[in-house]
């Protein structure tokens, strides 16, 4: 499909960038600051993790809005249609109870953000605190306090999802195993931390009765529907605009309570109100992520074949559900995709979601996959070590080689390059010479290690995949509306909502090849529900697969129209017309007509169109694929300082296969960014609370994203396996970096500490955590080298 492509496959500079490097990109706070007469909101938040609200006292005359200010407002609630699921309803503002620290209780509106924050501090929320439960394991205990008292929990105290599946011969697989490896994996709580925190501007127009919400968000159409449902107002009276958005990584995907309250307040007051989240609010109460525990048992033969897998997964989903994907997304994705690219026939899994008095969880780059990949890849390394085998060989023996392959969960895996990427990574690392260097270093008392991580990432999945999760809302398809304007340039209106990915540039490359125009002649319109077709937005590594696929389908329709008109003008057959370099030409001749000439005829002189063709050049197409798998192998080389527990990453190698790369520069940038977040997840970033639920990492002095000093050069090699699971050939790349990196890093740290008999199965592997593991095996030392 790329034969003869002029633009697809080129690292074209992004059209998005000139405005951004000039400081002229307009993010929501910029729009608010340029708007005269904007009021500003601040939220009053619960200081307690659990309790009953006795009273809310505001200074006299202060414009404080509480749940009581909005009679008739509905709760936020998304559902899964399955018997092992308990739906949790989220009030927009807390009513009688608070269930997590930072829960919004009231909204203060003032002339400036500073005044609003001053006033919010003067609002006294009297809470009768009750005993909180913060940890999922503790919450399951029948004696633990109920996070949602009065809500029936038939599957156990605070258990809101308890999903199970098993193939027929799991016990037999374990009985016949030579070695059973048991592993406990823990991924602590983190924050996706887009560098622009959340923020929104709600503007009500009393004249039209319409309200426009300009918001840092990844799913503008979904947000509009949710606002209409929750506030019980006509959806046509709402417009959601997502301007420049400063990263999302999942945190800006779900419907925030604050945005709903802001729209309600703007309509109540007939005003324009901005809320710009500060970083401490963001760390405390935006959405949290991860917080999974896995107990894995793997049944292996003596030569390293994995016969069966038994897993017990517990996800701490926090106090409420997100909307629309629900808290089920974490435990159910973990359950469905845990076996990964390893061939095994016997699989049993129990996966639970547990509600606690912690901030609710939303998807974060990779969702469950960084953790399930960590689990499987630690299992592979641990098994290899126990059996005295080479970790690379053990992986190779188990990786899927023949396609199509079906996971034991029934999930089909399309062709990929699992073994090839592993081999290429091992070669890039030069494993043999590394082992010699590692031995020499060991003789000097230094701890070097190497770790690998192989994974497949299910991407570009449409409606059927979400339906299989029994989701009431299935954010699957994308629609693209395409129009060639009378001047011959092209406008593409998309339902996807890019926020830094460069999708507009990449789609313009696709369109340029399909239509024979220059990429700069394409304008991609996104992030405005009044001006784009209904769609699901940008998340889940899906945009180039699904919005790209819809773009290609729409372009084919437009190309057919152009050819038909050109053929009529040129008295040729449409099959003989080629679209190239701005013209429609008869193949093999110099006879042609320019696209602007065709466009003028179609729009302005439609009497000259062939019979039966309607005026204009507007087409639309929808794409709703079943899904595909990207894959990659990551390899990390680290040195661990046993005195400090500090991990230095010497090298980081990625062999990535995201299928067709429309713009390789953008693909590589996604991998760099993803790996960096994966390294951050593996080593640095953790939301820590004390026993009362107080967040101890509420600033960037304590929650530690890595800087340029911590991140190594990331060495990327590209493989492109093209399958027919995606009509563009692209497989999706947004999340892969974050999925593979934690496992590679923790395998490397464990490899480095093998001489001490230490295995690191907890992320992040902070210096304190690494030191604690070393202290356990070297109790007599306080840290000095021996």
């Amino acid at each position: 499909m790329t034969v003869g492509a002029r633009w697809t496959g080129r690292s074209l500079r992004r059209f998005e960038d000139p405005a951004l490097v000039r400081g002229l990109g307009r993010f929501v706070a910029d729009i608010a600051d340029h708007h005269n007469g904007t009021l500003h909101a601040a939220f009053v938040r619960s200081p307690a993790p659990a309790g009953r609200i006795r009273s809310i006292e505001a200074p006299p005359g202060a414009p404080v809005l509480t749940a009581a200010s909005f009679p008739g407002i509905r709760t936020i609630c998304a559902r899964l249609d399955r018997p092992d699921f308990v739906a949790l309803e989220t009030p927009v503002l807390a009513t009688d109870a608070v269930r997590h620290p930072g829960e919004p209780v009231a909204l203060v509106v003032a002339g400036s953000r500073a005044e609003a924050e001053d006033l919010a501090e003067q609002v006294v929320v009297d809470i009768e605190a009750t005993r909180p439960v913060l940890d999922a394991a503790a919450a399951i205990d029948p004696a633990a306090p109920a996070v949602h008292p009065g809500l029936e929990m038939p599957m156990g105290n605070n258990v809101v999802l308890d999903a199970r599946m098993a193939t027929g011969g799991v016990d037999e697989a374990f009985e016949s195993a030579d070695e059973i490896v048991t592993l406990d994996i823990r991924a602590h709580r983190q924050n996706a931390l887009p560098i622009e925190a959340r923020g929104a501007l709600a503007a009500h127009d009393p004249g039209t009765g319409r309200t426009t919400l300009t918001a840092a968000n990844q799913m503008p159409h979904m947000l509009r529907t949710a606002l209409a449902d929750i506030l019980d107002i006509p959806e046509a009276d709402l417009r959601v605009v997502t301007p420049e958005v400063g990263g999302g990584f999942g945190q800006k995907m779900c419907v925030p309570r604050e945005y709903v309250a802001l729209v309600a307040a703007a309509r109540l007051l007939g005003a324009t109100i901005a809320w710009i989240e500060d970083r401490s609010e963001n760390l405390l109460a935006s959405w949290h992520s991860r917080d999974h525990s896995y107990r894995l048992r793997g049944a292996f033969t003596a030569d390293g074949r994995l016969l069966g897998l038994d897993a017990d997964i517990v996800c701490n989903i926090g106090a409420y559900s997100n909307y629309p994907v629900t808290f089920g997304v974490e435990p159910l994705m973990a359950m469905a995709e845990l076996p990964g690219p390893y061939r095994l026939s016997q699989y049993r899994v129990r996966s639970r979601g547990v509600t606690t008095n912690m901030c609710p969880i939303a998807p974060y780059r990779g969702v469950s996959r960084p953790v399930l990949t960590l689990a499987m890849e630690r299992l592979m390394d641990t098994a290899a070590r126990r059996l005295g085998l080479d970790p690379v060989e053990t992986r190779r023996a188990n990786l899927v080689k023949d396609f199509p392959y079906s996971m034991p969960t029934g999930l089909p895996v399309d062709p990929g390059s699992y073994v090839e990427t592993l081999d290429a990574a091992a070669e890039a690392i030069d494993l043999e010479s590394f082992r010699r260097r590692q031995q020499r270093a060991a003789a000097e008392g230094r701890y070097l290690g190497v770790g690998f991580s192989v994974f497949g990432e299910r991407t570009g999945y449409g409606t059927p995949a979400f339906a299989a999760r029994a989701m009431e809302i299935t954010p699957g398809y994308e629609t693209v509306q395409l129009e060639m304007n009378p001047s011959g340039d092209v406008t593409a209106r998309i339902g996807a909502s890019p926020h830094g990915q460069g999708l507009a540039t990449a789609l313009s490359q696709l369109l340029a090849d399909e239509l024979g125009v220059e990429p700069r002649q394409v304008a991609v319109v996104h992030g405005d529900t009044d001006n784009t077709p209904y769609g699901w937005g940008t998340f889940a590594s899906r945009s180039m697969v699904i919005a790209g696929g819809a773009t290609k389908l729409a372009a084919e329709r437009l190309a057919a129209r152009l050819k038909e008109i050109a053929a009529h003008q040129l008295e040729a057959s449409p099959e003989d017309i080629r679209l190239e370099q701005g013209s429609a030409v008869v193949a093999g001749t110099s006879v042609g007509v320019t696209l602007p000439e065709i466009a003028r005829i179609a729009h302005h002189s439609s009497h000259r169109l062939p019979d039966g063709l309607e005026p204009g050049l507007a087409v639309a197409a929808t794409y709703d694929p079943a899904g595909t798998f990207s894959n990659a192998c990551h390899a990390a080389v680290v040195e661990v300082d046993p005195d400090t527990g500090h991990v230095e990453i010497e090298r980081f190698v990625v062999i990535a296969d995201a299928g067709l790369e429309v713009n390789p520069m953008i693909v590589e940038g996604q991998i760099h960014g993803g790996v960096t977040q994966g390294i951050a997840n593996a080593l640095y970033e953790e939301l820590v609370v004390d026993g009362d639920g107080n967040l101890l990492t509420a600033s960037l002095m304590d929650f530690l994203p890595p800087t340029a000093a911590e991140v190594p050069t990331i060495e990327v090699t590209h493989i492109q396996t093209i399958t027919d699971a995606s009509i563009t050939g692209a497989k999706g790349v947004g999340e892969g970096g974050a999925i593979g990196a934690p496992a590679a890093v923790l395998n490397a740290v464990s490899d480095a500490l093998t001489p001490l008999g230490i295995e690191v199965n907890e992320m992040p592997a902070t210096p304190a955590r690494v030191r604690e593991l070393i202290r356990r095996v070297q109790p007599a030392t306080t840290g000095g080298r021996q």
Binding site: R22, E196, E244, V711
Partner: protein, 159 residues
């Protein structure tokens, strides 16, 4: 409650701006709200992320940690002042060429940080440059292309 406002003239990108601000108002908020220069972004408002980096008398500062009233009489430079009309500054051009940005939110801060270091130390070595660039946070790029961009601008600005 009406807070006392200080009247002062800020010189931003060579242009005078007469503003009346509360003494507690930060330079970042003043640039954005009073001068209409919203290219200076706020990522943390506590001096860690560096998205709000501007130059005051050619030194990089966190505009979220400085009050506007501290800047009277000093030369303030922001991202809006980098380009010369339609011509991008070499550092802006380099970020564009080398994919040194994705969402672009942290970019103004990195551009000003890099401008200041390359102007004051045109021969700075790679290692030291990496240390300087570690002053600011980026959540999208993984820094690699930012470093490549600044290397390229350094070479461009020296030649």
């Amino acid at each position: 409650m009406t807070a006392r406002r200080a009247e002062l003239t800020l010189t931003v990108n060579g242009q005078p701006y007469d503003v009346a601000v509360e003494p507690r108002k930060t330079l970042a908020d003043t640039l954005r709200e009073e001068c209409g220069l919203t290219g200076t972004h706020l990522g943390c408002e506590h001096g860690v992320c560096g998205a709000c980096t501007v130059l005051v008398d050619d030194e990089p500062v966190r505009a979220c940690l400085m009050f506007a009233v501290q800047c009277s009489g000093q030369a303030i430079r922001t991202v809006e002042g980098l380009a010369d009309g339609e011509s991008l500054h070499p550092i802006q051009q380099a970020f564009w060429e080398h994919h040194g940005l994705q969402c672009g939110f942290c970019t103004p801060g990195f551009l000003m940080l890099a401008t200041s270091v390359l102007e004051s130390r045109p021969d700075i070595g790679d290692e030291e440059l990496r240390e300087v660039l570690a002053s600011n946070l980026c959540r999208c790029t993984g820094y690699q292309n930012i470093i490549t961009s600044v290397h390229s601008a350094r070479d461009q600005m020296r030649s």
